[in-house]
Symmetry: C2
Subunit: 257 residues, 2 copies
C-alpha cells in the first residue's frame, strides 16, 4: 500500500494512521510519501505502522533540494533482502544502500553529496531550535488565516475541513475569475508565485504553499493584499480590505483588558 | 560499448578515440564514463564519436559531489526515444529527462538541486579562469613529479607509460613494504589519505589522486616527504631526500644563465 501524506495536487491531508492499521491486519507493507508533510505536521512513522517513509529536504524542512530522507522498518528491510528477483536499479537498490550505511563490512555505493548533508544538518538544527510543536502550530495558524482571507474573497478550499493541509492550500477558483491571468499578475507585478491545477483540476484551482521558513504571517498578508488589489481592479472583489480583515481576525492576539 | 576513460582502480588512461571509430564501423552506441577524466585531461566527446558521456562534479572539476554532468548524441537520444520496452527507472529515464530539459512542452520530472547548480557554475568558472590547456599541463606536470618521486622509492606505476593517468597514479607496492600500515600512518600522522587496491589488487597497489584543486606541487612534495619519513623509519628507504630530489628535478624551472 502506497499513500501520499500531504497530497499537493489537491491539498488533501490524507489519514495515514487508519490505513497503517489496515496494512498490519492484512500483512501488507505500507509506503508513505512524506515529501511535503515532514516538518509541517506530525509524521509518526512507527506509531502509524509505516514500513517505508521518504521525504524531501526542500519543503517544510526549508533546506535546499537534493536529498531524500528515507527510513525502512525491519519488515521492509527483510522483504528487500529476501526478494527473489534481482533489483532493476543500482542507484535505488536499498540492499546495496543498507550495506553502505552499515558499520560492519561497509561496501561503497556512492559518493555522498557532502555539502547537502551540512545544509540538511543546519536545516534540522533550525527545526529543533523552533521545536516541532511550535512549528506545527505556526503552520496551522498561518494556513487558517490564509483560508479565512481566501474564503472572504469567495475562494473555497477543495478538501473538506478535516482534510485540509496547512502547508498547501488548494482552493477552487470561481468561473468568473480568469485564474491564469491572476497568476501571471501575481508573479509579474508582485513577485509571488502560486500554483495552478494539475490534470482534471487544471484551470479550476489555485495551490498556495506555506512551507517551513516561508510559512509566515507576512507572506499570508502580502499575498491576500495582492489578490485583493488584482480582484478590485478586475471587478471580482468589491470591498477593499475584506480578505486582510478576515486574516487579521484569525491572528488577533490582543485581548481587551 | 561502454568504457571508463580514467580507470581509477588501475590508474589506466584508456584509449577512447580508436574504440569510438570501431563503434561507428560496427554501428554500436558508445558510452563513456568520464567521471575522473573531465577537467583533468581532454574529453573530446563528438570528435571521439561518443554517444553518451557522463561525469561527476567532485573529481577534476573540484565542485562538491552531488551532480552528474551528462550529454547524449542524437543517435543515443533517438535510440532511447524509439525503445520498444518501457524504461525500468523513473529517476534515470532519459526520455523523461529530455522532456524536462526541452523548452517546448516542458514536463516536470524532478526538483533540481539548485545550490549544487550554483556550486557547479562557480567550479566551471574557475576551470575557465585557469583555462583547459593550463589545467591539463598542471595535471601532467604534478603527476610526472609524483611518479619520479615514487619510482625513486622503488614503487613502479602499474600501467605502461603510455597509459598512465595524470590524476590517479597507481603504483605497485613491493612485498617488503607493509602497505596497509603505511596508509594508516599517512592518515593518522600526516593527515594524508591515499587509496589501497581493490579486488585482485587488494594489498598490492596504492592509488594516489591529484585531481583538480588538489593537484599541486605542494601536495606532491608533502606526500613524498611523508612516505620518505615512514620508509626511513621502517627501513625500506635508505637515502634521505631521494624522492623529493627526483620530484624536484621534474619541477626544475631555473635554467643556468
Amino acid at each position: 500500500m502506497a499513500l501520499v501524506h500531504a497530497e499537493t495536487s489537491t491539498g488533501a491531508w490524507q489519514p495515514i494512521e487508519p490505513v497503517g492499521r489496515l496494512c498490519r491486519t492484512y500483512n501488507a507493507l505500507f509506503i508513505v510519501d512524506a515529501v511535503t508533510s515532514l516538518g509541517g505536521v506530525p509524521v509518526e512513522i512507527d506509531k502509524w505502522n509505516i514500513d517505508v517513509c521518504y521525504s524531501a529536504t526542500q519543503k517544510c524542512l526549508s533546506c535546499p533540494p537534493g536529498l531524500a530522507p528515507l527510513t525502512l522498518s525491519d519488515r521492509a528491510l527483510s522483504a528487500i533482502k529476501t526478494r527473489r528477483t534481482p533489483c532493476q536499479s543500482w542507484y535505488l537498490d536499498m540492499a546495496l544502500i543498507a550495506d553502505y550505511w552499515t558499520e560492519h563490512n561497509r561496501a561503497y555505493h556512492h559518493t555522498a553529496p557532502i555539502s547537502m548533508l551540512y545544509a540538511l544538518r543546519e536545516a534540522l538544527r533550525l527545526v529543533e531550535e523552533e521545536g516541532l510543536p511550535a512549528r506545527f502550530t505556526r503552520h496551522q495558524l498561518n494556513s487558517a488565516a490564509l483560508v479565512a482571507g481566501l474564503m472572504a474573497l469567495g475562494l473555497t478550499p477543495l478538501p473538506t475541513p478535516d482534510h485540509r493541509l496547512p502547508m498547501l492550500t488548494c482552493v477552487t477558483v470561481p468561473a468568473h475569475i480568469n485564474e491564469a491571468a491572476v497568476r501571471v499578475q501575481l508573479l509579474e507585478t508582485f513577485g509571488i508565485e502560486i500554483g495552478g491545477g494539475l490534470g482534471p483540476l487544471k484551470g479550476k484551482v489555485w495551490r498556495i504553499g506555506l512551507m517551513g521558513e516561508s510559512c509566515t504571517e507576512a507572506n499570508v498578508l502580502t499575498l491576500l493584499n495582492a489578490l485583493e488589489e488584482i480582484g478590485l481592479r478586475s471587478g471580482w472583489v468589491s470591498t477593499p480590505g475584506v480578505a486582510l480583515t478576515a486574516a487579521a481576525q484569525t491572528y488577533s492576539r490582543v485581548t481587551s483588558s
